[in-house]
């Protein structure tokens, strides 16, 4: 895996020591920062690690020393509609039969945590936040289908996304560099979708969810291949004419080069 240049720089908000007047401690917060809001990937992109830096605001030194702060950072791809199809055996052939459409499915979902997810917070809390590859809320378009069917296709969708490397988690991917500063390492799959991705950071203290922050990151393809792709999708007719012209030229050239008559 090639390493993407460390993208992100911290938005370091060093906290001033609380003065005596502040009887109530300031609420804790979390910040993340990216050095760029655009990542360009080339045609030979074979996956990379994306590093995001972040900082805690007003951490309680005691909790901090005990290591009871946990951070989960997520990079969520653009949402799309997805059709999940199931093949069944008909007359001996494997044919697509039933299908279920899901709306607003994040194309990719990469998560990094400070510790194994079960040690950070409770399953209920993950479900409420719909946090983690296993808890992303996948909304079926046809809600009247039987719950069993929806469950089957939801599981299949998750399982395929994990199989394709698009949904992943990285335990220990978030590391505290100091009491406030942390670094999150997220895996970008080779087939990471282009579009606007959302980086979200969740702060937990003693297993309780405190605060969330988010920022956006555009992933774009660059290079010659991307120019072709854009031309093909924006100007299909012109692209077709060009493809025909190229084919005729190649055929004509072949005749000139190898002419015998």
């Amino acid at each position: 895996m090639r390493r993407l240049a460390a993208l992100a720089a911290a938005t370091l908000l060093f906290v001033l020591p609380a003065t005596a007047e502040d009887a109530v401690p300031l609420p804790e917060g979390i910040q993340i920062g990216l050095s760029t809001d655009r990542v360009a990937i080339t045609a030979d992109f074979s996956g990379a690690d994306l590093t995001i830096f972040g900082a805690l605001e007003n951490p309680d030194p005691l909790v901090s020393r005990q290591g009871r702060y946990d951070v989960i950072v997520v990079l969520e791809g653009p949402a799309r509609q997805v059709v999940v199809r199931r093949k069944d055996r008909i007359l001996g052939m494997w044919i697509n039969t039933r299908s279920e459409t899901f709306v607003n499915v994040p194309v990719s979902y990469s998560m990094a945590t400070t510790r194994p997810p079960q040690d950070v917070t409770t399953p209920d809390s993950y479900r409420q936040l719909s946090l983690g590859p296993a808890n992303i809320y996948l909304e079926p378009e046809e809600k009247r289908a039987s719950p069993l069917t929806i469950q089957e296709f939801t599981d299949a969708l998750r399982e395929r996304k994990e199989g394709l490397g698009l949904y992943s988690d990285n335990i220990g991917g978030v590391q505290f560099l100091s009491a406030n500063l942390f670094r999150a390492t997220l895996h970008l799959a080779p087939n990471v979708p282009v579009g606007t991705h959302k980086a979200r950071a969740f702060l937990f203290r003693n297993g309780l969810f405190i605060k969330e922050t988010s920022t956006q990151l555009a992933i774009v393809k660059s290079g010659f291949e991307q120019t072709i792709f854009r031309f093909a999708s924006d100007h299909g007719f012109g692209y077709g004419l060009f493809a025909i012209g190229l084919a005729m030229f190649t055929g004509w050239l072949g005749r000139i080069i190898f002419r015998k008559d």
Binding site: A43, D44, R80, Q81, V82, V83, V84, R85, R86, K87, D88, R89, G92, M93, W94, I95, N96, S99, T101, V107, F153, A156, L157, E159, R160, K161, G163, N191, P193, E225, Q226, I228, F229, A232, S233, G236, F237, Y239, G240, L241, F242, A243, I244, L246, A247, M248, T250, G251, W252, L253, G254, R255, I257, F258, D261
Partner: protein, 309 residues
């Protein structure tokens, strides 16, 4: 050496593609066929999505057919009038095929339909050719010269109305079967990514009784235009033409065709046809076999249009 296909969105080995193009070009030069019916299944075997294999196959067919059509144009063995009537049918058929293609893609049955069409057509054509060539081989071994059908014979097709005269082909025939053959092949071109020469040539010879020397040139002319139209239909409605993939295949194909043509002159006609028949049957069997093998993943994900996500 890897090369990235911008439309298929995958990396493939450029030498494998060149070899594939050259092998098909060699065969097409040897047997005088366009090779579209071989290139599309080969691309599918190489894990190129069928929708892209078909549209790119149609684009690739233009190169080899154009090259051939130019040669026939020079020799004067091309009936423009017959070709144009075939074309009118062909363009209608190709447009209809494009619509059916998009529809099948959105309901998730495109891959199945492509495979089934290939199995049926290649199986039938391959089987008939094999029987015919084996019979011919047996007859020549027995010392009896193969019997030729009389070209002057008329059948029911010659009793249809709307007759038209085609001077170059020395024909006076109804336009209905001509338009019909054109439309059928245009439809197959859009869905299977083939030029359709392997159906067009026998149809023109046996159904319309077009003189054999005119058939190939006229068929190539119609294939060039219908494949070009098919490429255009796919590039505008489905965006599935991969120009890089097509170019690599064309380069391999154009080079391979030259050596194939030389090799073809050394083999006897019946042997050549028997070999081609075996090849066609092998491709049909392989595609058919894949339909019956349990897939690795029973579930698949697509966009609502049927395209990749």
């Amino acid at each position: 050496m890897g090369i990235y296909l911008p439309i298929a969105e995958m990396s493939v080995n450029v030498f494998v593609l060149l070899a594939m193009g050259a092998a098909v070009g060699f065969l097409s030069g040897m047997f005088g066929v366009g090779g579209g019916f071989l290139i599309t299944p080969l691309l599918i075997f190489y894990n190129i999505p069928p929708a892209i294999a078909v549209a790119t196959g149609a684009n690739q067919v233009i190169a080899s057919s154009f090259s051939g059509a130019l040669a026939h144009l020079k020799r004067g063995t091309l009936d423009f009038k017959l070709g144009t009537v075939l074309l009118i049918g062909g363009i209608a058929g190709s447009a209809a095929g494009g619509v059916v293609f998009a529809l099948l893609r959105s309901i998730g049955q495109l891959d199945l339909f492509i495979s089934l069409l290939y199995v049926v057509f290649l199986g039938t054509v391959g089987g008939l050719m094999l029987v015919e060539s084996v019979n011919a081989l047996r007859l020549t071994k027995g010392g009896v010269p193969p019997a030729l059908k009389k070209s002057g014979q008329h059948n029911w097709i010659h009793r249809l109305p709307f007759k038209m005269r085609f001077r170059t082909s020395k024909l006076f025939v109804s336009v209905i079967p001509v338009l019909g053959i054109g439309a059928g092949i245009g439809f197959l071109s859009a869905i299977m990514g083939v030029g359709g020469g392997f159906i067009m040539v026998p149809a023109l010879i046996y159904l319309l009784k077009v003189p054999t020397n005119i058939v190939v040139g006229t068929s190539l002319f119609q294939i060039v235009v219908v494949s070009a139209f098919t490429t255009l239909v796919h590039s505008t409605t489905n965006q599935t033409v991969d120009i890089i993939l097509a170019l690599v295949l064309m380069i391999g194909g154009v080079a391979g065709a030259q050596y194939g043509a030389k090799a073809g002159q050394k083999l006897r006609g019946e042997q050549l046809r028997a070999l081609l028949a075996l090849l066609v049957l092998a491709v049909a069997l392989r595609l058919g076999f894949d339909l019956f093998v349990k897939p690795q993943n029973l579930y698949s994900l697509t966009a609502p249009s049927g395209g990749t996500l």
